[in-house]
């Protein structure tokens, strides 16, 4: 039996982000959550392995570290076909940076899933966009890892991974147990996530609650404090000014376009690396 662990992050739904219009900042605590799109692709990869008869029996555990409300993405993972969902939550886990997140996930896998064969993560989450938790979790578990997978295949007990990294198309292979991150921006449609079936949601909730583990159940030291132990500290978060005092042109299209090129043609031509005539357009007609 292949036991696949899929690490799933709940991220704020960008379209629902409540912005404070006066300060221009994000009221993140009140934002609705959703499953990180890259994690969704990782789960899709796990589901496809499970559906493939040549893989043999497969069990999928979805795990998330986050606040209690992150339970929702684990129900969603179950609705999509994960066999188990586990939420790692504790006030002392709050404020974990990528390094501490890897430690917490690592603790869960080492202590509670010793049979884990394949660990899948999204390559990069849509909120903090670090791409670090996957590689650091592999380091914590001391297992091999391959990042940015676009396609994976089980071959004689190893995993073979196709990936596209910095303009190189690569085929990699490693023995299991191992960790693979699924490309968050895969151009192939292979791991485009399926939609959740409504019966799946109903079934996910009929199966009972999500297993919830606090730091003690996980086996973390009683003095564990993710915020304190994270090597990085956030000094300040702000939202950059995006609204520009731009110039608004109205009127006939031809006139607007001429103004555009007369006044800003240099910017365009320097980006093109090609000269543009800026004035005297009337004579050229």
């Amino acid at each position: 039996m292949l036991h696949i662990i899929v690490c799933i992050k709940q991220v704020p739904m960008v379209s629902e982000l409540p912005w404070d219009p006066r300060t221009g900042t994000l009221k993140r605590e009140t934002a609705q959550g959703m499953m990180d799109p890259a994690a969704r692709r990782a789960l899709e990869a796990a589901l496809q392995i499970k559906a493939d008869r040549t893989s043999g029996p497969v069990s999928i555990t979805a795990v998330s570290m986050g606040p209690p409300m992150a339970e929702e993405v684990l129900f969603e993972a179950r609705a999509l076909g994960a066999d188990q969902g586990v939420l790692l939550t504790d006030p002392c886990m709050a404020g974990a940076d990528t390094c501490m997140t890897a430690v917490i996930l690592g603790k869960f896998i080492k202590n509670h899933c010793p049979d884990a064969g394949l660990i899948l993560c999204g390559s990069m989450s849509s909120d903090s966009e670090t791409a670090q938790v996957g590689p650091q979790l592999a380091e914590d578990l001391d297992i091999p890892a391959i990042g940015y997978a676009r396609r994976l295949e089980l071959v004689d007990g190893c995993i073979r991974v196709e990936r596209h990294v910095d303009d190189f198309l690569e085929l990699m292979e490693m023995d299991l147990p191992g960790l693979v991150t699924i490309d968050h921006a895969g151009e192939s449609d292979r791991y485009t996530p399926r939609y959740v079936a409504l019966g799946g949601v109903e079934a996910a909730f009929n199966k009972g609650g999500i297993q919830v583990m606090n730091s003690r159940a996980l086996g973390l030291d009683h003095a564990f404090n993710a915020l304190k132990h994270s090597p990085t500290k956030i000094m300040d978060v702000y939202s950059p000014v995006t609204e520009k005092k731009g110039r608004v042109l109205t009127g006939a299209v031809k006139k607007m376009v001429d103004t555009l090129f007369d006044d800003y043609g240099k910017i365009v031509s320097s980006a093109m690396g090609k000269d543009l005539k800026t004035h005297d357009h009337e004579e050229d007609v």
Binding site: P37, S128, A131, A145, H164, E173, E187, K233
Partner: protein, 330 residues
């Protein structure tokens, strides 16, 4: 002991990826503020040429492990070597280009050294205590975080390619080369590379293109949307699209610019008939100069623009094509 700022040298696909040179330039500024030495760290097989290049672009010292065994990029071996070197020479700061490979090796090294790492920085600074301030975006540039690594060393960051301007090539620059031999106890790599070939994919180009043209539903129809490709050909630009357009099948998913698609950072962005939903605008926070066309002057996209044309997107596109044909000098 002298303070050192290290830059891990990523030379693969050298002519495309200038990120190492860009970081060297910024490291030179930072080194002046903290009285530190700028060092490059190069691993590989027959890398003399790159070493010389890094010295010409600002590296004062170069640590080099040149060995036939390092002829392919391997995350595990490279991370092992880099961690070992850091333990030995204890630099204050270690900077890595946020290429995909850089973003694989850096977190592993940080974890091995139990130090902090900030991803994909768009700026670096030094605070009044001499600490490295790592400035990184999140939510596709909608938020910016300032991060420090107060207690552990080195302070690590990956740097987004294209963020800094490289220094001019200086043939007279002098740098000290410090050869480091491969340790005897290198662990065998557990990941085997079966194939690796240079394969630039066209679809990626939109992320690095200098000019991008995006279209939204305001273009009217699939047929009219095609006009954007005519404009793109004139401007040597790439074409991107909003989610409704992709779902309406006017253009393939690969063109999707947005939270779930491509992030772009062009010098000039032309935006046609895009209203500016945040899932879309989140991915273009780094566009330098924006020209937006929309019938609705109050569309969000128009407020993000440097120049906003209140017009039908499709007619304006035709107008711009006509004007360009007259203005482009042969």
């Amino acid at each position: 002991m002298e303070k050192q700022i290290w830059v891990w040298a990523d030379y693969r696909n050298y002519f495309q990826s200038r990120v190492t040179l860009q970081i060297l330039a910024r490291a030179t500024d930072l080194a002046k503020k903290t009285d530190a030495v700028v060092c490059a760290v190069v691993f590989g097989d027959r890398v003399d040429e790159y070493v010389a290049e890094y010295i010409a672009h600002g590296a004062q010292k170069v640590y080099v492990t040149d060995d036939p065994l390092l002829n392919t990029y391997n995350v595990e071996s490279y991370a092992f070597l880099l961690s070992a070197l850091v333990r030995r020479f204890q630099p204050e700061t270690l900077l890595v280009g946020a290429t995909r490979f850089g973003q694989e090796i850096a977190p592993r090294v940080a974890k091995q050294l139990n130090t902090g790492l900030t991803a994909d920085c768009i700026d670096l600074d030094i605070d009044d205590k001499g600490r490295l301030v790592q400035i990184a975006p999140s939510f596709g540039g909608n938020l910016i975080a300032k991060i420090i690594t107060p207690h552990t060393r080195p302070q690590m960051a990956t740097i987004r390619p294209g963020t800094f301007q490289e220094l001019p090539h200086d043939d007279d620059a002098k740098g000290k080369i410090i050869p480091i031999s491969l340790p005897d106890h290198m662990p065998g790599p557990r990941v085997r590379c079966l194939k690796s070939e240079l394969h630039p994919v066209r679809a990626r180009k939109i992320e690095t293109a200098d000019i991008v043209i995006t279209g939204g539903r305001g273009m009217g129809s699939k047929g009219k949307f095609k006009k954007l490709f005519d404009l793109a050909a004139l401007l040597h630009a790439e074409v991107g699209a909003t989610r409704p357009v992709v779902y309406a099948d006017w253009v393939s998913t690969e063109a999707l610019v947005g939270q779930a698609g491509k992030h772009i950072r062009p010098k000039v962005l032309f935006s046609f008939g895009v209203s500016g939903a945040i899932q879309h605008t989140a991915a273009l926070a780094d566009a330098k100069f924006i020209v937006a066309v929309n019938k609705n002057p109050n569309a969000t996209m128009m407020k993000l623009a440097d120049v906003a044309l209140v017009a039908d997107a499709n007619q304006a596109c035709s107008g711009i094509i006509r004007a360009l044909k007259q203005r482009i000098r042969d």
